[in-house]
Symmetry: C2
Subunit: 340 residues, 2 copies
C-alpha cells in the first residue's frame, strides 16, 4: 500500500509500505476513507520534534476490513471513527473520561494513518461505528471528529464553556476554529476569536465567533480585557502551544476563570508566582477524544455541525508533500488526503 | 498600641504604633481578640521576600470598636472574623467566589494585624459576625478560619475533594493539616498525609488522615502511586509553595485528577510539556477565604470542627519574636499571640 513517510524535517515522501496485519487479538484493520495532515505534524516538519523515517498521520476514518479474535464491538464492514490515542476504554482512567491517558494507551502516531490501511490497536475501546455507511459529504466532518474537532471540543469543555459565558480562543488553526464551533454548541454567549487571517476570521464567524481580535501578545490581552469590562474572559481556549500563546491565554482569563489548553506545549514554562496570582483554572493535555466521539458523530450524522469546513485543501494521498508545504506556508488551514 | 514590626530578615520587634483610625467611610476598626503568625510570614523572615519596617500579620478576629459612615453589615460590639484579603464582596469576581481577587482588593498584609487594633478596609464585604460573643476556647478556631483553615479548605475545594476520592496532601504545616480536616469534612474516602514529623502526623490523623507517607520527592510520589493502584490520587493539595512540592503534587495526581495549590509559589517554574502530558487540573492562588467564612464559622460555632488545634504554642504579643523563631526552627507549627 501507499503511505506517507517523513525522513527528516521538511522531507515528506509517499512510499510503498507493507499493508498492516493483525498483531494482537484486540486489533482491527481499516481501509481509510480519507486521511489528513494535522497541525501537530508541522512540529517535526519544522524540526521541533525528531523523526527518522517515521510513518505519519494519526487521524482516520474508514471501513473495518479485518478484526482480531477478541474484538466484539465492531465488525468487518462497519464504518468507524477513532481517536489518535488508542485506549481500552475500560480502565479507571478511561472510565473517568481520560482515554488519552488510558493505562494501556497506544499513540496512533506510531501507526501512521496517512496511508491506505491502518492497524488500530485496542479496537473495542478505540473505534466507534457510525449509524450506517456515511454519505460522501459527511466524510470530512467525521474525519475531523478523529482529532481536531474532538480536541477543540475538549478544550472548550476543559475551559468550562457554558451558557452566559464569554469565551476567548487563542489560535486560529483547525483546532482553534473547532473550539469556536464547540463553544457555540456548548452555549457560550460571546466568543472572541483571536485571528489575523481574513479567511480564518470568516470561518470563525461562520462557526459562531461574535468578536474578532487581531492583536497579539499584550495588545491582544488588552483588547480581550476591554471587551470584558476589564476582567478577562470566563473561559479561554489555548490551541497553539507556544510560550506566547499560553501567556496570552492565561492573562486573558479573569480570576477564577478557566483555561483549556490543547496546543502541544513546546518549550513552554509557566512561572509559579504568575499562575498563583492569576487564580485561573488550568486544564489541558492530549484530548480524550474517545469521550466525545459518540456525541460528535451523532451531531455530524444529524448535520447539526459541519466541522469538515476546516479542510480548505484536498489532495490525493500521493501529493501529501504538497499538503505539508501548503500548511507550513499557511496557504491551507487543514489538508484532506483522498485515497487512491 | 503595641504591634509587630519586621525590620529585616530575622529582625522582628514589638513596638509602639499609632492606633488605627477610620480613613474611609467603608472602614471598621477592631480590637483583636488574638492574632497569630502565618507560615507565609516566614518568607520575609528568611529573606525570600523584601521587608522594610513592615507591620506584620494578616489574620485576625476581634470586636468592632468603630465603623465608618458607610458600614452597614457590622456594628460596634460585633465579634467578627475576616480574611487576609479585604474585598467588597459585590463585584463580579467576588460574586463568582474569588474575593481574594476582588477588583477593589486590599491585602491585609499592608495593615499588620499582629497588633492590638487593626483597620479593616471594605468592612461590609470583608467581615463576618459570629452568632454571638464566642466562648474563649473557640477563639483559636475562629482565628484559624481567617486564613489557614480557609486556605486549606479552598485547597481541598480547588482539588475537587469529594466522596469516594483519595486525597494526598503535600505539606504538613498548618494549611496542609487543615487541608486534611477540610478533605475529611468534604467526604474524602482516603487521605494520605505526606509528613515526616511525629507530632504533625498525630494531628494529621486526628484531623482525618488515613495514611502517612514519610518519603519525599520521587520516593514520595512512588509511595502515593503504590497506595492508589499505580494511578495517583484523585485530588492533591499542595500547601508548601516550592519547586519540589509543586512537582510532588502534580506527579502524585492521576491523569484527569485535580491539584489545589495554595503554597505561595516561590521560584517555581512549571514545564509546559510535563503539565500537558500529566492531564491534571491545576487551580490555586490566594484563597478566597471570604467565600467559605459563613460555613466555617458555623461549623466552629457548632463545635463540629476544631481547627484551633493547629496552634501548638501560645505567647503574649510582646514575645512575638520568640514565636517567629519557634516557627522558623520548626519547634512550633503555628503560634497564637495573646493580647495585652
Amino acid at each position: 500500500m501507499r503511505g506517507v513517510i517523513m525522513h527528516a524535517a521538511g522531507d515528506v515522501r509517499v512510499e510503498d509500505r507493507d499493508a498492516p496485519i493483525i498483531q494482537e487479538p484486540t486489533d482491527a484493520i481499516i481501509r481509510l476513507a480519507a486521511s489528513c495532515i494535522c497541525g501537530s505534524d508541522l512540529w517535526p516538519y519544522r524540526g521541533s520534534d525528531e523523526v527518522d523515517a517515521t510513518p505519519m498521520g494519526h487521524e482516520y476514518v474508514g471501513v473495518v476490513t479485518e478484526i482480531g479474535d477478541a474484538v466484539e464491538n465492531v465488525k468487518v464492514g462497519d464504518f468507524v471513527v477513532g481517536s489518535f490515542m488508542a485506549s481500552d476504554n475500560t480502565c479507571e482512567i478511561c472510565q473517568a473520561g481520560y482515554q488519552s491517558r488510558c493505562v494501556h494507551v497506544v499513540p496512533m502516531g506510531r501507526v501512521g494513518t496517512q496511508a491506505e490501511f491502518a492497524r488500530i490497536p485496542l479496537a473495542d475501546g478505540t473505534l466507534v461505528a457510525t449509524p450506517g455507511q456515511p454519505d460522501d459529504d459527511l466524510i470530512p466532518s467525521l474525519l475531523a471528529a478523529s482529532d481536531v474537532l474532538g480536541t477543540g471540543w475538549f478544550a472548550a469543555v476543559a475551559a468550562e464553556v457554558g451558557p452566559g459565558k464569554t469565551v476567548a480562543v487563542v489560535g486560529d488553526g483547525a483546532v482553534g476554529l473547532l473550539g469556536i464551533l464547540a463553544a457555540k454548541q456548548l452555549g457560550a454567549e460571546r466568543i472572541i476569536a483571536m485571528s489575523r487571517h481574513a479567511d480564518r476570521q470568516e470561518l470563525a464567524r461562520r462557526f459562531g465567533a461574535t468578536d474578532i481580535v487581531e492583536e497579539r501578545g499584550d495588545e491582544g490581552i488588552a483588547r480581550v480585557k476591554e471587551l470584558t469590562g476589564g476582567l478577562g474572559a470566563h473561559s479561554v481556549i489555548e490551541a497553539v502551544g507556544t510560550q506566547q500563546s499560553m501567556e496570552q491565554a492565561i492573562r486573558s482569563t479573569r480570576a477564577g476563570g478557566h483555561v483549556g489548553f490543547v496546543g502541544v506545549s513546546h518549550d513552554v514554562t509557566l512561572e509559579g508566582q504568575e499562575l498563583f496570582r492569576s487564580a485561573v483554572h488550568l486544564h489541558g493535555g492530549p484530548a480524550p477524544v474517545r469521550r466525545f466521539l459518540p456525541e460528535l458523530i451523532q451531531l455530524i450524522w444529524d448535520r447539526e455541525i459541519d466541522p469538515g469546513a476546516v479542510f480548505d485543501l484536498t489532495l490525493p494521498l500521493e501529493e501529501a508533500a504538497e499538503g505539508y508545504r501548503a500548511m507550513d506556508e499557511r496557504r491551507a488551514t487543514k489538508v484532506l488526503l483522498t485515497m487512491p
